[in-house]
């Protein structure tokens, strides 16, 4: 029996939740069991069956409209116990990474984060996951009866697996929390790095914050999130939240476009989980060219506006 926590935002299931369900179904098939999802204040859960869940435990409670890690962890733990789950799957969102260690302690379960594929074996239970910020993989054996898995973003993908879905109302004890959210400051009109399928990132080669308009424009044409290298955030050209790399945010997008970024080892580690990397840089010796799939040696100030224009035309044609 595999339990998966399916995160939602404003009542709608997130894509990473569906990826987690796809993955949970893979494990359930390998172990000979089924998938139960636990969803909190989610208005429409019918999509869960499409990716392999047989049952959804619906939790509806207005006290859970704001995220409380401890309370959510207790709910997931109660669901895992009620279902007799041997494996609990969570995604790699900021909230799930907050919850996972708490669930692991509750269930006396071994926890492995950043897992990239189905278990290599289920007895003993062996998981492959990224370590050293994507510079390597580790195979780790989990020796506890219950296992908690944090699935690396965009590592398994969505896999359809139409399964009849039953829905149950689940009313766990809602534990109190010693931490209360008093305000949320979140841009609603831009794509976040965590959710983005495409990320457009700028480095020192852009010469100054005043030149970020072309990065934003390119990102907007692609429906992409914007990001930056560490020096750019250290100099205050862009906010810390955009810093991508070993001490910043990891990026696991489908496409990562690096503009005017030389490619320091720490930066490359942070973006290594991205599937396709494009570099635009006027220095052909920039280390990024060794890490990229496609590259243009050229002046960003010429190439980027051209790329944006041509992409607009491309999008119009393929719309």
């Amino acid at each position: 029996m595999v339990l998966v926590y399916t995160e939602s935002e404003e009542g709608k299931l997130k894509k990473i939740a569906l990826e987690a369900v796809s993955y949970a179904k893979g494990i359930a098939d390998a172990m000979g069991g089924s998938v139960t999802a636990v969803a909190v204040n989610t208005s429409d859960t019918s999509e869960l069956g499409k990716y392999g869940a047989s049952k959804v435990l619906q939790v509806s409670n207005s006290e859970l409209d704001t995220f409380k890690a401890e309370t959510f962890a207790d709910i997931i733990s109660q669901a895992a116990k009620a279902e007799g789950a041997k494996v609990v799957v969570l995604s790699s969102s900021a909230n799930s990474k907050f919850i996972a260690p708490l669930v692991a302690v509750n269930l006396e379960a071994g926890y492995v984060p950043n897992v990239v594929e189905l278990p290599q074996s289920t007895d003993p239970f062996k998981l492959k996951h990224t370590v050293f910020t994507n510079k390597a993989f580790a195979i780790t054996q989990v020796n506890t009866e219950v296992k908690v898995i944090g699935l690396g973003k965009n590592s398994y993908g969505l896999k359809e697996n139409e399964t009849p879905l039953t829905t149950e109302t689940f009313s766990p004890n809602i534990s109190g929390s010693g931490a209360e959210v008093v305000s949320i400051d979140k841009a609603t009109d831009t794509v976040t790095i965590a959710d983005a399928e495409i990320v457009v990132s700028g480095g020192r080669g852009l010469k100054g914050p005043e030149n970020w308009g072309m990065i934003e424009e390119l990102a907007s044409v692609l429906g992409a999130a914007t990001a930056c290298s560490k020096p750019v955030s250290d100099m205050g050209w862009r906010p810390h939240s955009e810093h991508v790399g070993q001490t910043g945010k990891p990026v696991a997008s489908n496409l990562y476009i690096a503009i005017g970024i030389s490619g320091a080892i720490q930066h490359l580690a942070g973006i290594n989980a991205s599937k396709v990397k494009v570099v635009i840089n006027n220095d052909p010796e920039a280390p990024f060219f060794k890490a990229a799939d496609y590259g243009i040696v050229g002046d960003a100030f010429e190439v980027v506006p051209q790329l944006t224009e041509k992409l607009k035309a491309f999008k119009a044609q393929n719309a």
Binding site: F67, A69, A73, S93, N95, K97, F98, P101, L102, V105, N106, G110, Y111, P113, K126, V131, F132, T133, N134, K135, A136, F137, T140, Q141, N143, G178, A179, E180, V181, V182, S183, I184, D185, K186, A187, T192, D195, I198, L222, H240, S241, T247, L255, I265, Q266, N272, K275, V278, V279, K290, A291, A292, D293, Y294, G295, I296, Q306, L307, K310, L311
Partner: protein, 246 residues
């Protein structure tokens, strides 16, 4: 206020990662070890509490004697006392259990850990310490103010941040933002001299069997050469037809 900063002893961010003993362990040959960057932001924030509001700062580490230079560096930066729990750091759970024990014994008001260590990226130790000891917990913490028993923490969330009201005793998983990169301190000669006479206590480990064990390591497959293109039309064509990402 009594603060514990949990310090992980990790390879410098520029390290080349290699494995030894049939890919079963990390090759430390030629590797420079440092204070885990996420922990160092927390340590610096702890120094500000000490200087502005008054606090005693202890640094804690689970590991063998080889981690002591890293603890001495933390003392040179300004921590008052170091505690090394004398056992190998095997998995996140067992490390958390060792630290949870020392935290309970020490009666700390604030426990600062890093969001994750940059070696094994577990991201579980601060949360586990909090849960094991029944303490409040804020992860991915990018701002923290404390007055009396009350704490206001800012947490990074996907696409923004949220402000959380909580109270001591508190555990945080910290990262850049607690202080800025430019606020990090390089130990000066006076700090280094003082660090030599500050207490570094070695504690014996409590019983804490690991829940997971490392089997082996792998390096990512070698990457093919970059495809250089001359113009943006060609790039768009490749991204659409070959890579299928647009």
């Amino acid at each position: 206020m009594k603060i514990a900063v949990c310090i992980s002893h990790v390879p410098d961010t520029t390290s080349k990662i290699n494995f030894t003993d049939g890919d079963s362990s990390f090759d430390t040959n030629g590797v420079q070890f440092v204070i885990n960057p996420n922990d160092e932001f927390g340590l610096t924030r702890a120094m500000w509490f000490k200087e502005k509001q008054g606090a005693t700062v202890h640094v804690l580490n689970v590991g063998g004697p080889e981690t002591e230079p890293t603890l001495r560096k933390a003392l040179a930066i300004g921590a008052d006392e170091a505690i090394r729990i004398n056992t190998a750091a095997t998995d996140g759970f067992s490390v958390a259990k060792q630290l949870a024990h020392v935290v309970k014994e020490g009666g700390y008001d604030l426990v600062i850990g890093g969001r994750e260590s940059i070696d094994y990226n577990g991201g579980m130790v601060p949360g586990m310490i909090a849960k094991m000891n029944g303490l409040n917990f804020v992860n991915t913490c990018i701002g923290l103010e404390i007055e009396g028993n009350e704490a206001m923490a800012v947490r990074e969330i996907d696409g923004g941040k949220e402000t959380i009201k909580t109270s001591l005793p508190l555990v945080i998983g910290g990262q850049k933002g607690l202080v800025a990169e430019s606020d990090l301190r390089i130990p000066n000669m006076r700090g280094i001299m003082q660090a030599r006479s500050k207490p570094l206590t070695v504690k014996e480990a409590v019983d804490a069997s690991p829940e997971t064990e490392s089997v082996k390591f792998e390096k990512p497959a070698a990457k093919g050469a970059v495809k250089l293109v001359d113009n943006v039309d060609e790039l768009i064509d490749l991204l659409h037809n070959e890579a299928k990402v647009i």
